[in-house]
């Protein structure tokens, strides 16, 4: 395999709190290759968001290094787009304007305004939100907002797409339809994705690899599960697939036996 897009070497993250230094992550080693879909799963508070933020550059590691394309990640940038857990659309802009802001930032140097607009429209069409382009975020449902957030991230054609529990706030049905939509977009674009999730089924359904994290404090990567299921994947067929069940069981076993959450 060729060189990884994201390379994390012995990364650690400690926060200075008023109760002293809190080590959230230690000894993280992870390589992410082009076109891969990697999920991060672990108990709440173990440091999944912290790890994702390290790749995003929103936090800088206090130990080790994080590299993107062989260069040290020194801050956030549009080549590492983020889909935030709570959509983070700007409420004073329409859906179109929200996506356009990102498109303009990335492509304005090379493309005309009409090309930028076409890109914006294409991104919204991809998540089937072109009918609500001129609506404001407060006028659409939570699932639709998340779709626009995904469109915004994809529209930037990032090298890595980072998603922090993108469907966490949604009901099961909306969640399933957005997962299907995401699989469709992935098949079309061949994007590289790192996604934080709480949901074992979601992790198996979408991922090439599932990174399972130990409990914090000082969490690290416990095990990495390779999911060798053919794509495109169909959730209904997989429901009766013994391999799917086995992957699922492996993650559940890690979470609920090896990393039993001690009753707080």
């Amino acid at each position: 395999m060729n060189a990884p897009i994201v390379k994390i070497e012995q990364a650690g993250m400690a926060f200075d709190t008023n109760k002293g230094r809190f080590v959230a992550l230690r000894d993280i080693d992870l390589n992410i290759h082009k076109g891969e879909f990697v999920s991060l799963i672990g108990h709440s508070g173990c440091g999944k968001s912290t790890l994702l933020n390290l790749i995003a550059g929103l936090n800088l590691p206090t130990a080790g290094v994080c590299l993107c394309n062989g260069r040290e990640i020194a801050g956030p940038g549009p080549e590492r787009a983020v889909v935030f857990q709570n959509h983070s659309l700007l409420p004073w802009m329409t859906c179109f304007e929200n996506v356009y802001l990102a498109v303009e930032r990335v492509f304005a140097a090379k493309e005309s305004r009409s090309e930028l607009r076409a890109r914006t429209r294409a991104a919204l069409e991809m998540v089937h939100m072109d009918h609500a382009m001129n609506k404001y975020p407060h006028e659409i449902s939570g699932g639709m907002k998340q779709r626009v957030g995904i469109a915004r991230a994809f529209s930037m054609e990032p090298q890595v797409l980072l998603m922090d529990e993108p469907f966490g706030a949604l009901d099961a049905l909306t969640r399933a339809s957005l997962q299907d939509e995401l699989m469709g977009v992935m098949a079309k674009t061949g994007a590289t994705v790192v996604m934080v999730t709480h949901d074992v089924d979601e992790a198996v359904l979408l991922s090439d690899r599932v990174v399972m994290m130990t409990n914090g404090p000082a969490a690290t990567i416990g095990e990495i599960l390779e999911v060798r299921l053919d794509k495109p994947r169909d959730r209904l067929k997989l429901a009766h697939d013994s391999r799917f069940a086995a992957y699922r069981a492996a993650i559940l076993e890690f979470l609920y036996q090896k990393q039993m959450k001690k009753a707080a």
């Binding site: 995003a56 929103l58 956030p76 935030f84 802001l101 404001y136 407060h138 930037m156």
Partner: protein
């Protein structure tokens, strides 16, 4: 911060409705065996009763004020009562815009002059205060640098600045403007800075991930996010300016409602002073409502929902 407090007021609006809807159910059940058809009428009755309560209470408040005024004026013969004042008001407002030279203008002109002063000053204060607030809110260094200065100067009565204004500008009118400027700039700076600090981290993370230029951050993210706070600052600034202008004009003279009050005192037309008090109150109320209306229009969905 704003979005929090606004959504709380939105919740606050929900609560009384819930109470209003729940309330009629109880008497309906108590009186009739079939509560279902009785409910809509009961709810409408509840709304009507609420409205009547407000009308009656408001009338009682005004009536109480008039009664106290009447009682005091019968015991203090120098103080004109409501009747005399009403007569004087009819005369006064028959021709509010006469103009017999700078020392004798109608009450309308005086109010307009005061409003003009407040308007100009408020514009100046906004032009200086809002950018300052942005800088103070955005950069830690300026935040810390500004804190002692603002905390020290803000509690000072703006009138204390009048002599400085007279000294520097050597002009009474300019000195009055200076005082209004000083009193309206604090709410602008403080609210803008607080608004900038309260911009949700999520929005700033969007800006960081997109690596937007500082210009784009200010125009596309900070300004719209802070606008509701700025408008709160504007409302407070205009309110304070309207409070202070009467005092400032009394001290500096010229044309304006404050000076007019002083002039009428010298003419011993006490009923005119009382009219001016009402007029100042009405104008202040109108300003407040107009700015609230603008603020509500400018607050995007996020702060309402």
């Amino acid at each position: 911060m704003t979005s929090m407090s606004m959504s709380m007021t939105a919740d606050g609006h929900v609560a009384p409705h819930a109470v209003a809807e729940a309330a009629p159910a109880a008497p309906a059940v108590a009186q009739t065996p079939e509560p279902a058809p009785a409910e809509p009428a009961g709810r409408r009755g509840e709304v009507m009763r609420g409205f009547m309560l407000r009308v009656v209470a408001a009338a009682a408040g005004i009536g109480g004020l008039l009664a106290v005024w009447l009682a005091v004026s019968t015991h203090v013969p120098e103080l004109p009562g409501p009747g005399v004042t009403w007569q004087a008001a009819l005369e006064l407002f028959a021709d509010p815009f006469y103009n017999n030279g700078p020392n004798d203008m109608g009450i309308g002109w005086n109010v307009l002059y005061s409003l003009k002063r407040v308007g100009i000053d408020f514009g100046l204060a906004a032009a200086v205060g809002i950018p300052l607030g942005f800088i103070i809110g955005r950069f830690r260094f300026f935040n810390i640098a500004a804190e002692p200065v603002v905390s020290l100067l803000r509690p000072v009565s703006p009138l204390a600045w009048l002599p400085i204004g007279l000294l520097v500008f050597k002009d009474a009118d300019m000195a009055a403007m200076w005082v209004i400027f000083i009193c309206s700039i604090w709410p602008m700076i403080i609210n803008t800075a607080a608004g900038v600090r309260a911009v949700p981290q999520d929005y700033m993370n969007v800006a960081r991930v997109l690596a937007l230029s500082e210009w784009k951050v200010v125009t596309k993210i900070l300004f719209p996010a802070v606008l509701p706070h700025i408008l709160t600052g504007v409302r407070l600034a205009v309110g304070t300016a309207w409070l202070v202008i009467v005092a400032a004009e009394m001290l500096t003279g010229g044309i304006g409602i404050g000076f007019w009050v002083w002039d009428e005192w010298n003419n011993l037309k006490v009923e005119h002073i009382i009219i001016a008090i009402f007029l100042i109150g009405v104008v202040g109320l109108a300003l407040e409502y107009a700015l609230l209306w603008i603020a509500r229009r400018a607050s995007h969905g996020a702060t309402i929902n």
